[in-house]
Subunit: 258 residues, 2 copies
Amino acid sequence: MSNGVTIGRAAAFVGVTVKTVRHYHRLGLVAEPERDSSGYRRYGSAELLQLVQVRTLAAAGVPLAGIGAVLDAEAAQFGAALADVGRQLTERIDELVARRDTLQRLADGDRALLPDRACAVLDRMRDLGLDPGYVAAQREALVLARALVPAGFDGFLGQLERGLHDREFVELTRRAWEAESWQPDDPRIEELAAALADRYLADPALLGDHASLRAWANAPAQYRLINNHREDRAPVAARLTALTEARLRAAGVPLPQR
Amino acid sequence: MSNGVTIGRAAAFVGVTVKTVRHYHRLGLVAEPERDSSGYRRYGSAELLQLVQVRTLAAAGVPLAGIGAVLDAEAAQFGAALADVGRQLTERIDELVARRDTLQRLADGDRALLPDRACAVLDRMRDLGLDPGYVAAQREALVLARALVPAGFDGFLGQLERGLHDREFVELTRRAWEAESWQPDDPRIEELAAALADRYLADPALLGDHASLRAWANAPAQYRLINNHREDRAPVAARLTALTEARLRAAGVPLPQR
DNA sequence: GTTGAGGTTGACCTCGGGGCAGGGTGGAGG
DNA sequence: CCTCCACCCTGCCCCGAGGTCAACCTCAAC
């Protein structure tokens, strides 16, 4: 007799691949048809009908794992089940759209990973003639700060902005970066630390506002990490920072514990 | 010294799970930090920075496999790479939206798997008092026909509609369904087949229009499958169909070969 | 007889991790 | 000291919806 069609024809009729049909069999969504004398599956109309039903639901986005239940459920539950699937689809769509929006903000120019205000600060640093290496280091510190201490990020930015408006402070910053080429025991390092501490004490706003200081105090581990960033590649700067911090602490400034 | 933070803290800082961090290590997206004396990973700022960068891109929908390349690429390629990812995201979003739309059409009432016109035909069958079992069988045949011979589907529908407008034909259909309770050798079966064939020959439009007939002729395997659907559960109807077809062929009607 | 198309099973791959097993480590409390 | 609890380590299998590769078998045509 050789009743029915082979799997290839059945798959073609319904518009799927042979693999997919076998996959549905393995999941129990479509009954296995009888085999002919040579072991080939022979599909009759009943199996094709199931295949069409499963395919229609799958193409509509119903997860394969839920198709069995949907087909078993009669009328009343059927609509509810489909509505449920639709809700899940909507959620995933919204998530993907949000991702794409984030991506577009990232791709907007090369200013990835940081908001516009931070990019402006970095641009300003470049314009002031600060070393590109220093600017890059600040950029990394900002990226870290934003992720690790989001509550203190705006304060951190404000602190940087204020520093850039202070000509003397900018000069000190420039020298501090140049100090990297000095010997580690150069006596000028101590001098520079003292000058920096004096500047901070003369204008405490350079250390950040109240909210910002509190945020840092609440996250000492993060403060240490960000503050020590690039320490290995800039040992002189590290020593400079330590000396300056010591002086500030001695003057009563409540910096987070090291 | 115990420098740096453990994996759990690092993960919490960045807002991911410990598993995710280790996953990134395995993919080479974040450098493995040094281990302390007990074998624990100790994260410094450099690793955290990488983690933040990777996380930001991943959250924006960049596939992990592409993040390495994106981070390596400088400025110019960076934007292009992100734009590319954005395009892929848009494609997937469109696909999901299309799925959801399909789903909503399906969920609209219990009339799944078939278009409105077909549902109307089935409703009309019910209204005419035809047996629910018969209507269900016709529904399955329509689902199959739509998937297997889309070109002939509208013609098939039209054929059914015309039949429903023919009072005598409806009566014959009703009797044909009742015939299932007869013995397989009941002489009334032959009579009924003759009456059906006569009715078809009296109004050949009941067999479908030209386009429809051509579509069936081009898909004999599908015709056979759909025509023989439920044959196993309705042997009398099967015999009835065969007898009727034989008469029609004898009268010169070009039905597809069995 | 041979060739090419199409059938059979099975095992392994995708992507972004989640979950569990089995065991080690460190600090706090009885 | 012992125990509890939280945290860390590695390694394995799991998810969805199939794709891909391998090795072999069968059918129809030349």
